[in-house]
Point group: C2
Amino acid sequence: MSGKLTVVGLGPGSPEQMTPEALAAVADAGDFFGYFPYIDRLDLRPDQRRHASDNREELARARAAIEMAAKGGKVCVVSGGDPGVFAMAAAVCEAIDEGPAEWRDIDFSVVPGVTAMLAVAAKAGAPLGHDFCAISLSNNLKPWDLIEKRLIAAAEAGFVMAFYNPVSKARPHQLGDAFALLRRHLPGEVPVIFGRAAGRPDEAIRIVPLSQAESGMADMATCVIVGTAETKLIERDGRRPLVYSPRYFKGAGA
Amino acid sequence: MSGKLTVVGLGPGSPEQMTPEALAAVADAGDFFGYFPYIDRLDLRPDQRRHASDNREELARARAAIEMAAKGGKVCVVSGGDPGVFAMAAAVCEAIDEGPAEWRDIDFSVVPGVTAMLAVAAKAGAPLGHDFCAISLSNNLKPWDLIEKRLIAAAEAGFVMAFYNPVSKARPHQLGDAFALLRRHLPGEVPVIFGRAAGRPDEAIRIVPLSQAESGMADMATCVIVGTAETKLIERDGRRPLVYSPRYFKGAGA
């Protein structure tokens, strides 16, 4: 008898940014798998069980959750933000793909959420208002030269970029290397936004030109948005400037 | 005396996917500006006023909303999905940037939402699980050759792509042209997802290989996701296959 497996996006952190659909999925499940800080956010009943694990255990976590659902459990895998953006939905799909055939019969669904780049962009203005891309700077699962290739392609083609997993203890230098590379392909005045804990009490949003962007301005919970040559700043008295990428394209010198 | 202007993302359509923060912003405002179908979604009190307009009136709508807020009004501009992704947040920023200096003093904020590509991706599995980009196929505000350049850059660099504004009455051929171009740069078996009304009663999700993708499979409310050579299908008995882009990169022939 097969159970139910739901991968749920809890949103950027504030309960006010979690959807009713996500809340209902949490209320409906008995067992919860996820990275410690996301599991800690859940307000569970005494009959609901937590199975927290470290953030480099995604595939093992996915398999454990699927096994429990295959035995009839009502299981929830939680991610911050949206589970489909550099998070658990892909890990669960990978595990199902590689696992026994009966895992494909599980009642499997994904509940979307507000992903970090959208929450950070909202706090800054509208930096993602034009074509944009999202890149994970983690080279645990892909080679660094591929990341460099994508950074250059995005810069040359005029995509705004959002970086996920910008730094970690195991990867201290990637973000600095990315900024150095981008400085060779984009003007120094392009705005860079460092956004952390958007919408939470400890929110920190910082805007600097690419020429001054440094990896020390981010930690593993920061989402970094790099504009294009078209991205503009609106200065305001006594407040942070607004950053936006116009919907139109004028081109260099227009 | 300056009022308040909030640009709010209503989510993909189901009330279950609208955040409490968006709901509170709607409850707090007196006047609502937006495209007809988004204004129609609002459940307003008798003291709240609707100012609906057509979908090619973004800048005029933004200016009217800002003018009312500048006179002291509590004004809400609504978008479907997330207002920062090809929607009203950038139009409002453009209008503030070009408008009188006092418009910069308005209490302005943006409330993020679940954008269409996240809702469609969740229904399909995890197609955005690897690096991805979002491209508007509308050439109202940017030249078509720039869009082609971005399609090629994204295909060559291995980004999954999400297309917004894929077709309209005024732009019937862009999506077909984009598929034809991508068939020269990507394998024919790359999965393409057409997602419409994700999470709503009239939801329609269709998955076809790039070789068979046609513009007639989309309308203006469809979000189209094009995978990469790495994107995989998990076939399931009696149900739609799952589509996912693995977190790892193996490369051609791996």
